[in-house]
């Protein structure tokens, strides 16, 4: 009960922080413009001729690669730069409450950005007869994907007080998680390595696990994968913060 009240207070502050600066609005506009651009221009939404959002979701792993670290990079770096970490961690709350509160706030913000893409659903329903269950699964997958990237950004943000370094680190880790299961890379890998090895590497990729959602399949293993990445990254965040305090 108490824990939840603390998490909520931290979430509220963090979300407020997004909206008192113009950054949040700039981010939302960029996000919507880019999703539009990728879906309708690069993704050939109209030329495909089928009523689905495949061309919309396909680009999300790449789009998030830069946009999510941009949201997450300040989470802990900023606290360290301002010195407010010392305030926060001497209040009667636990470190994990602070971590979860900050993570949930940013995730909620990303969920809002994603929710603002609703015109694309209206468009596709107006043009044809899509399977809205598949679309919903796509959204769930996309949200989990964003959460996984965000948790990684949260972790890299705890490593340094420099937001730029934090951004670059998380882009690199997320890029690795994409490439491990990206078809051109896996094709290349099968030529040199045992297919089992390729499969194992691909099992760590967000691409492999995001694919099912795009086809409308809600596989428990995929959900567990994203949940584990989030759990692991947030746990590591806690360890990093504790180690830094130990000096």
């Amino acid at each position: 009960m108490n824990a939840w009240a603390n998490i909520k207070a931290i979430m509220k502050r963090e979300l407020g922080g997004y909206f008192t600066s113009p950054i949040a609005y700039v981010f939302l506009v960029i996000f919507l413009l880019l999703t539009g651009f990728f879906t309708f221009t690069v993704g050939n939404f109209f030329e495909r001729g089928d009523a689905s959002l495949v061309s919309f979701f396909t680009w999300h792993p790449w789009l998030y690669l830069f946009l999510v670290p941009a949201v997450g990079m300040r989470l802990w770096s900023e606290e360290r730069r301002l010195g407010t970490l010392e305030l926060l961690l001497t209040l009667p709350i636990t470190t994990w409450q602070a971590i979860v509160g900050k993570f949930l706030a940013s995730w909620l913000f990303l969920a809002l950005a994603l929710a603002l893409t609703f015109p694309v659903i209206i468009t596709v329903n107006w043009l044809g007869n899509p399977d809205n269950g598949v679309i919903l699964a796509g959204y769930v997958g996309s949200l989990l994907l964003a959460g996984a990237y965000l948790a990684i950004s949260c972790m890299t943000s705890a490593m340094t007080r420099n937001q730029v370094i934090s951004f670059i680190l998380s882009v690199m880790i997320c890029l690795f998680l994409i490439l491990a299961g990206y078809t051109p890379v896996t094709d290349l890998l099968t030529r040199f390595a045992n297919p089992i090895v390729t499969q194992i590497v691909a099992a760590f990729s967000v691409m492999t696990h995001f694919e099912g959602f795009q086809r409308g399949v809600l596989d428990a293993r995929d959900v567990i994968f994203f949940a584990s990445v989030i759990g692991f990254a947030l746990f590591t965040t806690g360890l990093i913060i504790r180690n830094q305090r130990a000096g």
Binding site: N2, A5, G16, L82, T84, E86, L87, P92, A246, G247
Partner: protein, 318 residues
């Protein structure tokens, strides 16, 4: 309320805090005095549970800070060095946020925020964001944050840093007033502050406690404590010669010489100090000196501070 035992903190090979022990009871204001880098902030960070000690134990209100941090932290209010605050929040928003995490709700929270705002004179900047505040206001905002839940224990790291003389005076009075029913530890390197506010002083140097006592006790350790300061008319050579022969005088120093007379200080011998002033006054009467001023010196804290926190190189040379 606060009990610190054999507290030690090592950063790599450096001992920032080295085997420090002390305790602070309710109603006490403990001044933490020491040169820069002495380990004051590091000690306070350990007491407030921000960094774990390398060795030793800390209890606040009976709760071990390492083992049971949450109840210990509930009892404390903390003003960190440099008074950090969330740059993009308004003063009011910030205080409400802290009050919320202190478990205050609804009307109680509003009352607590209003009280803290009043105590720290923040009315004028309530709706300003923290990054637009002057240093003094920023500092007082962070102080208000520490007071918001009216804690039993206050840990204040340089609470008057960056304030103008009037604000310094206000904050000192506030600390003194609150000290009546709280346990307060505050660090400073302003000596007059210690005399004005503290019931007890700890001087810390290179991580170690080098002195612990009331301001009066520490002042008594000064070289000039008990010395007689006088201004009289007459040739300084004669004055010097006669004064040196006063019983109980160890040494005479001529401070200045002008048409207004000679200013001199008579240092007491280690034993009989109580009668030195009277002896000097009697001498002056016998000699018929025109005496413009005479008083016994209490000793000076800055002098004590300087002698006991002198760097090793200077000590070796002396």
């Amino acid at each position: 309320m606060i009990k610190v035992e054999n507290l030690t903190k090592a950063f790599g090979p450096n001992l920032a805090v080295n085997n420090v022990s002390f305790s602070v009871a309710r109603g006490e204001v403990l001044g933490f005095l020491g040169p820069n880098g002495a380990g004051k902030s590091t000690s306070m960070r350990m007491i407030t549970g921000f960094i774990p000690p390398t060795a030793g134990s800390i209890t606040v209100g009976g709760y071990d800070v390492v083992e049971t941090p949450i109840p210990a932290k509930r009892l404390m209010g903390y003003l960190p060095e440099n008074a950090p605050g969330y740059a993009d929040m308004t003063v009011r928003g910030f205080l409400h946020f802290i009050a919320e995490l202190r478990g205050l709700k609804g009307g109680a929270r509003r009352a607590a925020v209003n009280r803290a705002v009043e105590l720290c004179f923040l009315d004028a900047v309530l709706y300003q964001t923290i990054d637009t505040l002057s240093k003094g206001y920023k500092h007082r905002t962070c102080l208000a944050q520490a007071l918001i839940h009216d804690p039993d224990v206050l840990i204040l790291d340089e609470p008057t840093d960056g304030l103008d003389p009037n604000q310094k005076h206000e904050v000192r009075n506030l600390i003194k007033r609150m000290g009546a029913n709280k346990a307060i530890v505050f660090s400073t390197h302003i000596l007059e502050e210690v005399e004005a506010v503290c019931s007890r002083v700890i001087i810390i140097d290179r991580g170690r406690i080098v002195a612990n006592g009331t301001p009066a006790e520490l002042k008594a350790r000064s070289e000039t404590a008990g010395a007689v300061h006088l201004r009289a008319r007459g040739p300084s050579a004669v004055l010097h010669e006669r004064l040196s022969r006063v019983p109980g005088a160890a040494r005479v120093e001529i401070i200045s010489e002008s048409q207004n007379g000679v200013e001199a200080r008579v240092y007491p011998a280690p034993s009989a100090t109580a009668t030195l002033t009277r002896s000097v006054a009697e001498l002056a009467a016998r000699e018929g000196w025109q005496l413009d001023e005479i008083h016994t010196e209490e000793g000076r804290l800055d002098e004590v501070f300087r002698t006991i926190t002198l760097p090793d190189t200077v000590k070796a040379a002396a």
